[in-house]
């Protein structure tokens, strides 16, 4: 189980003011659950994910994973416990090939066919990519899919994907949705996806809404998704008027 207890995170602005980005969040996610975290831009979703991975340290509160207090553990030690994070904007590496990166993720040199299978699952034609460097010669969408493949290559207990849909074309996205479905079906890992994508929300067990640094809603995907659509229609006069006309 992943447990966040009174977790807050504040950051300093350029003017030296303190801004509360995550505001006293309490959250428990059971092993094997498939959760989508959604909410408005700037609401604190990515920060929450980064706090779980250890990329940011909470200002106050504790984080537990499988009963272990991981609040003060560095990123690599959390990774060793089986936590993985796919960055929203993945790093690029001069000189490091796709195959090396996926092998590093796996923890040992991967045979070509296994490496290829991970790339295929994210919609990349593997033979074209294996020996390419993960540098600026790759497009944003390509590097994003390789990032997701690095999580698939790991033996994880908790996989966090930060907006996996961003920069990915429609066709590859369909394949990605299928891969997430399979991952969820296997049920061996907890999956947290930060997303605005309704197709991802619709296949999740649960949806959590984070807004203004607070957890504002949580429930089964079917319920929350309908509520969110309703709120959107209410909040958007243009769509509301159109709907009435129709």
């Amino acid at each position: 189980m992943l447990k966040l207890e009174n977790v807050s995170f504040s950051a300093q602005t350029e003017n030296g003011e303190s801004v509360e980005i995550i505001d006293n969040i309490n959250l428990e996610i059971d092993d094997g659950d498939f959760v989508v975290i959604t909410g408005p831009n700037g609401g604190g979703k990515s920060t929450l994910a980064r706090l779980i991975m250890g990329i940011e340290q909470p200002t106050s509160g504790r984080i537990y994973y499988k009963g272990i207090d991981i609040t003060n553990l560095p990123v690599n030690e959390r990774a060793a416990l089986g936590i993985g994070y796919a960055f929203q904007q993945p790093a690029r590496f001069k000189g490091l090939t796709v195959r090396s990166l996926i092998s590093l993720a796996h923890g040992s040199e991967l045979p070509e066919n296994e490496c290829c299978s991970y790339l295929t699952r994210v919609g990349l034609c593997s033979m074209d990519y294996l020996n390419r460097e993960v540098d600026t010669s790759l497009s944003g969408g390509e590097v994003k899919r390789i990032e997701i493949a690095t999580l698939m290559a790991r033996d994880l207990g908790l996989a966090i994907f930060d907006e996996p849909e961003a920069g990915i074309d429609l066709w590859s996205f369909s394949m990605l949705v299928e891969s997430f479905k399979q991952m969820a079906k296997a049920g061996d890992k907890t999956i947290i996806i930060i997303s605005h994508q309704e197709r991802l929300m619709s296949i999740a067990d649960e949806i959590i809404v984070i807004a203004d640094g607070k957890l504002t809603k949580r429930g089964p995907s079917s319920e929350i998704f309908t509520e969110l659509i309703g709120e959107f229609n209410k909040g958007c006069s243009f769509r509301g008027e159109n709907d009435e006309e129709n």
């Binding site: 991975m53 690599n76 990774a79 960055f87 790093a91 590496f93 001069k94 000189g95 923890g107 690095t150």
Partner: protein
């Protein structure tokens, strides 16, 4: 003739990937200023120079698929030498040359190898050249290499050069001058690592004299400790040609790196580009590797090894 000891293969392996004497192909292994082993092949003849130290390597036209090894090892402290190696490569060849120099200096005297290589490449040939430089030793004796390389690439020939300094050299001054004929292509990849109080200078001048000639110069370096690196590549377009210079350096600790790429166009159809960047290891790269379970120091090594690979 000096005999090669089994322990010499430790160094030969590092600089030329040799575990044993090559079964096929021509080679000359220079050990402590003397030729320790040599073999000619049907198409490649290696001849000792009579007027100065060094060898002539003559490759017949139409030689294909042959690998030539000419590594140098110095493991006696205090040897200082200037060696002249001239390569005469005929037309329509496709060959690979593995050079490399290793200094092991456990003494307190300076060991120095200044290798002057001149390549004369004929027409329609392809030459791959790899040169790895490495030094180690526990004592105060300096380890120095000053390679000088002259490359003349003939019409429609291609020369691919990899020049690697793995580490351990106190001082190196590298000077490379290349001239390209019509349709000739040159790719130089330079990879260099310095640490402690080491210093490395690399000057490179590529004269693109021929019509449709092209050059690509990639320089990647890592500076650690108090080391100093200075790069001065210059591509001179004297005809309709293309050249791209790319210098990238990772700077660590208290190192100092200076990158001075220069491009000179003496012809309106010369297309020349230079790019240079110096910076610390990117924090996003470190974080990504740490999220894979790799500790920060090991992650730095992975990034550096990949960068210099």
């Amino acid at each position: 003739m000096k005999k090669i000891d089994i322990k010499d293969f430790g160094m030969l392996n590092k600089i030329a990937d040799l575990y044993e004497l090559p079964k096929e192909g021509a080679f000359n292994i220079r050990l402590n200023s003397q030729s320790a082993a040599r073999q000619n092949s049907k198409n490649v003849e290696i001849i000792s120079k009579t007027d100065k130290s060094g060898i002539d390597i003559k490759v017949k036209s139409n030689t294909k698929g042959e690998k030539i090894h000419i590594p140098v090892v110095i493991n006696e402290s205090g040897i200082e030498e200037v060696v002249y190696n001239d390569f005469y490569i005929g037309d329509n060849c496709d060959i690979e040359i593995v050079a490399g120099c290793g200094i092991h200096n456990d003494g307190c005297n300076t060991s120095r190898h200044d290798g002057v290589h001149a390549f004369h490449i004929g027409k329609n040939s392809k030459v791959s050249y790899t040169e790895k430089h490495y030094a180690d030793g526990e004592n105060t004796g300096k380890k120095i290499m000053n390679p000088e390389t002259v490359v003349n690439v003939g019409e429609n020939s291609e020369c691919i050069m990899e020049m690697i300094q793995i580490g351990g050299l106190d001082s190196t001054f590298r000077n490379t001058v290349a001239s390209l004929k019509d349709g000739a292509k040159l790719v130089i990849t330079e990879r260099l690592m310095t640490d402690n109080d080491q210093r490395a200078d690399s000057d490179m001048t590529v004269n693109l004299d021929g019509f449709d000639s092209s050059a690509q110069i990639i320089s990647r370096s890592v500076g650690k400790g108090n080391s100093v690196q200075v790069f001065k590549p210059n591509a001179i377009g004297n005809n309709a040609c293309k050249a791209h210079i790319q210098c990238d350096s990772i700077i660590m600790d208290k190192a100092k790196i200076s990158s001075v790429p220069e491009i000179t166009a003496n012809h309106p159809d010369a297309m020349l580009i230079h790019e240079a960047a110096i910076g610390r290891i990117n924090n996003d790269q470190l974080l990504k590797l740490m999220t894979l379970g790799i500790a920060e120091e090991d992650a730095q090594d992975v990034i550096i090894q990949g960068f210099l690979k």
